[in-house]
């Protein structure tokens, strides 16, 4: 395990060095990520210029959800977003080479394609969070502070699990590597809004089957001390860590099943 970590660290360092080799390009890519995140915020602000509340949330409350979701999504994309490339690795046979090395394939994929540019997303989301916390009137309790501090981590685990589980489908649908986007980038959009604006199958699928509601929505309700507009039990507001552990377990099983199914594309 310790040995794995050393290898992982040097792969990561090499990946970071290679990204910094073109500083101008890297700066532009960071700026692009920041801009993308700002653009998503502009959409929310423009919507709130036309309406007073969204799904039972005021502008400040919605921005709290948006910023918490943005931090987790940026971190998840940074760490495991490169699994998007799995289809290409399978098609070109690169995966076979990775499987021969004494380090888990997923670790290798994620370390060599570590998306440092996503600091742009995380930075912007953090700035929005700072603004929201400074301008909102939240009555802090130790429990609420704890929820605030742990939410980026649970959100990262949740979205990371979604990414891993969704990418594992690529082992079966090699050409369909865009399919996971529906739930990975889809969760990026879904989790940055109050889930109470959605309904029907979309809400059930993206909030509870794909556990999007636990990334930012329920933690934000806990921090704000607000009852759930969906009317579901209050215990859900504190369930994110438990759901994250479960999701990580499911993702690990899905990935293993995928790897076992994989027999190479051969030539």
């Amino acid at each position: 395990m310790g040995e794995h970590f050393t290898v992982y660290r040097s792969l990561l360092a090499a990946s970071v060095r290679s990204q910094l080799a073109y500083p101008a390009s890297f700066t532009l890519q960071c700026a692009a990520q920041a801009l993308l995140q700002l653009q998503n915020m502009v959409v929310i602000l423009v919507l709130f210029s036309r309406v007073g509340e969204m799904g039972g949330f005021t502008r400040q409350e919605a921005l709290l959800i948006f910023s918490l979701a943005g931090i987790s999504f940026g971190l998840a994309d940074m760490l495991v977003g490169s699994l998007d490339q799995l289809g290409r690795l399978v098609r070109t046979g690169t995966l076979d080479a990775l499987l021969l090395r004494p380090l888990p394939a997923m670790t290798q994929i994620c370390a060599t394609d570590f998306a440092l540019r996503r600091v742009g997303t995380v930075g912007t989301a953090l700035a929005v969070l700072g603004y929201v916390l400074a301008t909102s009137d939240i009555s802090w309790t130790p429990l609420r502070v704890a929820v605030l501090l742990i939410t980026p981590l649970t959100g990262l685990v949740l979205l990371g699990a979604v990414w891993v589980a969704a990418s594992a489908t690529t082992f079966w649908l090699v050409e369909g590597q865009e399919l996971p986007n529906a739930v990975t980038y889809g969760s990026g959009l879904f989790t940055s809004y109050p889930v109470s604006i959605f309904s029907g199958w979309l809400l059930r699928l993206m909030a509870f089957v794909v556990p999007g509601a636990f990334v930012a929505y329920y933690p934000a309700l806990a921090i704000l001390g607000k009852p759930d507009p969906l009317g579901l039990p209050p215990v859900l507001q504190y369930s994110a860590p438990l759901v994250a552990v479960l999701a990580a377990g499911v993702a690990a099983l899905a990935w293993r099943a995928g790897l076992r199914h994989y027999v190479g594309t051969g030539s």
Binding site: Y22, S25, N40, L47, M54, L173, E175, G176, M206
Partner: protein
């Protein structure tokens, strides 16, 4: 000569119709986002029946046509040509007895036609099945919409061509591409109707070529504003950007040094 370009259009169509699984996967994503965008946009009607000239029906039509156009106009760009510049394969392209820009455009039109048949049509049918859409009511408006989509493809091609040409000067031009990808969603009118913005922002956004790619065809479909004015905006940008592409290509070729041979 024309026959050659027609064959390139067909080749573009065939090339993209080969990857059926990829097409279905992309389609699924567009559809899921379509439902989500509808839910997000419909929140503005909590207190009023009309917002900036949009009613709920026009708003969901906005969302579904936008989702359908993503793959047709490749709103976030593509890198095929830039990669050929980077690898030096562009030297082979330049040796061919066809106009490079026209040949790439022909191939892109073929690609876009396949996308229209699949990635545009299917989300629209899903939208029709689940929502009350506002679609053109007359043959004339359908014709104007068709023309507008064609112009949208031309403008988007012209922008993508210019962005890829940067590869002649910059070894790593992906930063620029991602910057373009980051601003195009809002500026083109994919995420939210441009009409929802405050007045000064609307003027600024319409001064760019981006609304010609998504918002203009949508406006024509749902009958907002003057179709003639919208088509003129698109045509002007198409001509200007295609001409700019030719100019820059001419300069780029002069900077090109081909090794070996």
């Amino acid at each position: 000569m024309l026959a050659c370009y027609l064959r390139l259009i067909r080749a573009g169509f065939r090339r993209y119709s080969t990857y059926r699984q990829a097409m279905v996967a992309g389609l699924a994503t567009n559809v899921v986002f379509g439902f989500m965008r509808c839910a997000v946009l419909l929140t503005v009607f909590a207190g009023s029946a009309q917002v900036a000239g949009y009613d709920p029906s026009r708003t969901v039509t906005f969302a579904w046509i936008g989702q359908g156009l993503i793959a047709v106009v490749l709103i976030w760009g593509n890198t095929d040509f830039g990669e050929r510049v980077r690898s030096g394969d562009v030297a082979v392209d330049l040796l061919r007895p066809v106009d490079l820009q026209a040949a790439l455009l022909a191939e892109d039109l073929g690609r876009a036609s396949f996308a229209l048949l699949t990635r545009f049509t299917f989300p629209l049918l899903i939208g029709l099945a689940f929502f009350d859409l506002t679609l053109p009511g007359s043959a004339l408006r359908w014709t104007a919409f068709g023309l507008s989509v064609l112009l949208a493809i031309l403008v988007s091609f012209a922008i993508r061509f210019l962005l890829n040409l940067v590869a002649f000067w910059l070894l790593d031009w992906r930063g620029l591409l991602s910057l373009h990808g980051a601003i195009s969603t809002v500026l083109a009118g994919l995420a939210i109707p441009i009409a929802f913005f405050p007045g000064w922002a609307r003027v600024a956004i319409w001064a760019t070529p981006f609304p010609a790619i998504i918002q203009a065809p949508i406006d024509i479909a749902i009958g907002r504003g003057s179709a003639l004015l919208l088509l003129t905006h698109q045509l002007t940008w198409a001509v200007a950007l295609l001409a700019a592409g030719r100019l820059v290509l001419g300069r780029a070729i002069r900077t090109l040094v081909i090794q070996g041979g």
